[in-house]
């Protein structure tokens, strides 16, 4: 019995030695010699088979797609939720639908970068299937991480704004062409420097920026520009994170609650 077991294992070992040797030989052949002979162009993945997220109104799920910069990401919130997280909490109280959230926001993203991101296949798919689209953008265009308003050169700021508005219009266009029905909530800018000197000047710049963005939004159907300027106007320090730029937990809660209050559910969707 013992003897039989041993010869069986020996035979198995010899066989496997050859098998793995073949594997190794294949590695060498594949990685060193055949590389490039079959380029990716010959491979045609079936894009059409990509299942799209069902977006009919009767679906049991509420799809939310979030895009934008660090505000949507939640930078500054110790829980990492951001206004998206609080918004989701609020909505969960109101509706019996299951909420499905995809957050594609990237810290430090400018309007130009967001425009590039939206051209990605997957992001497009998410936008297509979304019932609600949340957006924050422009903060990094304007403030460039806190430095932008130091040199209050109005000509330079006007130029940046013009570029931003063009990007924004293109972005709205792109989203609307992908998704004709979903409501877009564009969360506006606040002035993190409103308690500093020059606050009059910075606030007027942010106000103008907000006004122009809201105007751009109004040119499209179903785009709501959500103001946040007033939320932070009086007690800016209490609502800002220690970097004095991003909101803290309370700040995000304010934004989340305000945005949530704009989202309406029909009778049968309510809890």
């Amino acid at each position: 019995m013992k003897k039989k077991g041993l010869s069986l294992i020996t035979a198995l070992s010899i066989l496997s030695a050859f098998l793995w040797l073949a594997g190794l030989a294949w590695v060498i052949q594949d990685q060193f010699f055949s590389a490039g002979s079959q380029s990716m162009d010959t491979v045609k993945p079936d894009r059409d088979q990509t299942p799209s997220i069902p977006s009919d109104g009767k679906s049991k799920k509420l799809h939310i797609a979030a895009l934008g910069d660090s505000l949507t990401r939640g930078t500054g919130d110790p829980d990492g939720k951001g206004y998206i997280g609080y918004l989701k909490q609020e909505l969960a109280k109101k509706t019996k639908k299951e909420i499905e959230l995809s957050n594609s926001a990237i810290k430090g993203q400018t309007s130009k970068q967001l425009l590039d991101q939206v051209s990605q296949q997957q992001i497009k798919r998410q936008i297509k299937g979304a019932d609600i689209i949340l957006l924050t953008i422009g903060g990094n265009d304007l403030f460039r991480g806190g430095q932008g308003l130091q040199q209050l050169n109005s000509q330079a700021i006007n130029q940046t704004e013009e570029a931003y508005l063009n990007n924004l219009k293109e972005l709205y266009n792109e989203i609307r062409s992908l998704n004709k029905t979903g409501t877009i909530y564009h969360v506006g800018l606040y002035n993190p420097f409103s308690d500093m000197e020059d606050s009059k000047k910075t606030s007027s710049i942010v106000r103008k920026w907000n006004y122009d963005s809201a105007n751009a939004a109004a040119a499209f159907p179903n785009i709501i520009y959500v103001p946040t300027f007033d939320l932070f106007e009086l007690h800016v320090n209490e609502y800002l994170f220690s970097d004095h730029f991003h909101p803290n937990k309370e700040g995000y809660q304010l934004i989340g609650e305000r945005t949530a209050s704009l989202i309406h559910f029909s009778e049968e969707e309510k809890k």
Partner: protein, 326 residues
């Protein structure tokens, strides 16, 4: 000669060491299977979505967010950038690199165990091949037979080669059958990308091509087998040089663990790439991960390992045939 090998194999199996190794693997695989299953479940709950594209997209976004942090170390940033490019490539070509299934589990399992777990198991099997004979005194009985010394050593080495092959096969078999209970046994035909190469922070995709997963797994196991052979050979050499099995194990253990630590911090010490333990992660070349040191390639790592193994063998045979045994 075959009789000698047979004799050596008999000794190996009598010691039950292989049996223990297989038991270890059999105990670990369910653990990893459960861990991976739990991980899949939590991400699914978090996203509320079972679609892998959404998941991969989220991973990409997360990586992008980590990249935008300014406190990132340079080599970690490089690693993230390469992984990001790769994930995007998979997504753009609509291929799910993590589709659940036993073959995928096998692949992930060997990729993670090639640097430490499997070499350790092989080391356990190889450490006392010669040294136990020396410390136990049986070496005298063996050497008084009318057989050339190199033949004796060669028979031991062949027995080692066979048991290493056996261990690798056992790992393949166990990881497939056990994880398949949870993930299902299918997925051999799934296409995967290989041929990525890295240059600095960039991911070169000129040579990228698709291969079915079964070929991918076979290739990875070929590499694992090679790594195990090299580690086995070096342990074998130490086993000839030292009388104490514990010392052999200690040295190999230190070397292997040092390799695992070094790979994370040698990026600026370039000549470290000639150490065998930094070159063990061969599967990373197939999947296209960033190398610990700039300029390392599959060919380079294979040659370094081969040189170490050849050196080890030469020393082992030279010492064993010349040494006085008393």
């Amino acid at each position: 000669m075959t009789k000698l090998v047979h004799n050596e194999l008999l000794k190996l199996f009598r010691k039950k060491r292989l049996f223990v190794i297989i038991l270890i693997v059999a105990a670990l695989v369910p653990l990893f299977t459960y861990a991976q299953y739990q991980q899949a479940k939590t991400t699914q709950e978090k996203l509320g979505n079972a679609d892998w594209r959404t998941k991969l997209q989220q991973e990409i976004v997360d990586t992008q967010n980590r990249l935008s942090s300014s406190r990132l170390q340079d080599d970690w940033r490089k690693y993230l950038k390469i992984r990001l490019a790769q994930q995007q490539y998979y997504l753009d070509h609509d291929i799910n690199p993590q589709a659940p299934g036993a073959p995928t589990f096998m692949r992930v399992f060997v990729e993670n165990s090639i640097t430490l777990l499997l070499p350790l198991l092989v080391m356990v099997a190889a450490a006392d091949l010669v040294s136990s004979e020396a410390s136990g005194g049986t070496i005298k009985l063996l050497l008084t037979r009318p057989v050339k010394r190199w033949k004796i050593l060669l028979s031991k080495y062949i027995a080692l080669l066979l048991s290493v092959s056996f261990i690798v096969t056992a790992v393949a078999f166990l990881s497939y059958t056990i994880s398949g209970v949870v993930f299902g046994y299918g997925g051999w035909d799934m296409p995967l990308l290989t041929g990525f190469s890295t240059k600095g922070e960039e991911l070169l995709t000129d040579n990228v091509h698709l291969i079915p997963q079964w070929q991918y797994v076979l290739m990875e196991f070929g590499l694992v087998w090679f790594v195990c052979l090299v580690v086995g050979t070096l342990t074998f050499m130490l086993s000839v040089l030292l009388r104490s099995t514990a010392a052999v194990m200690g040295i190999m253990l230190a070397a292997l663990i040092a390799g695992a630590i070094l790979s994370n911090m040698v990026s600026s010490w370039e000549s470290a790439k000639y150490l065998f333990m930094v070159n063990l992660a061969l599967t990373d070349y197939i999947s296209g991960m960033a190398t610990p040191i700039e300029g390392m390639t599959l060919g380079f790592s294979l040659s370094v390992l081969l040189a170490w193994a050849a050196g080890g063998l030469i020393i082992a045979f030279a010492v064993f045939t010349k040494r006085d045994v008393y």
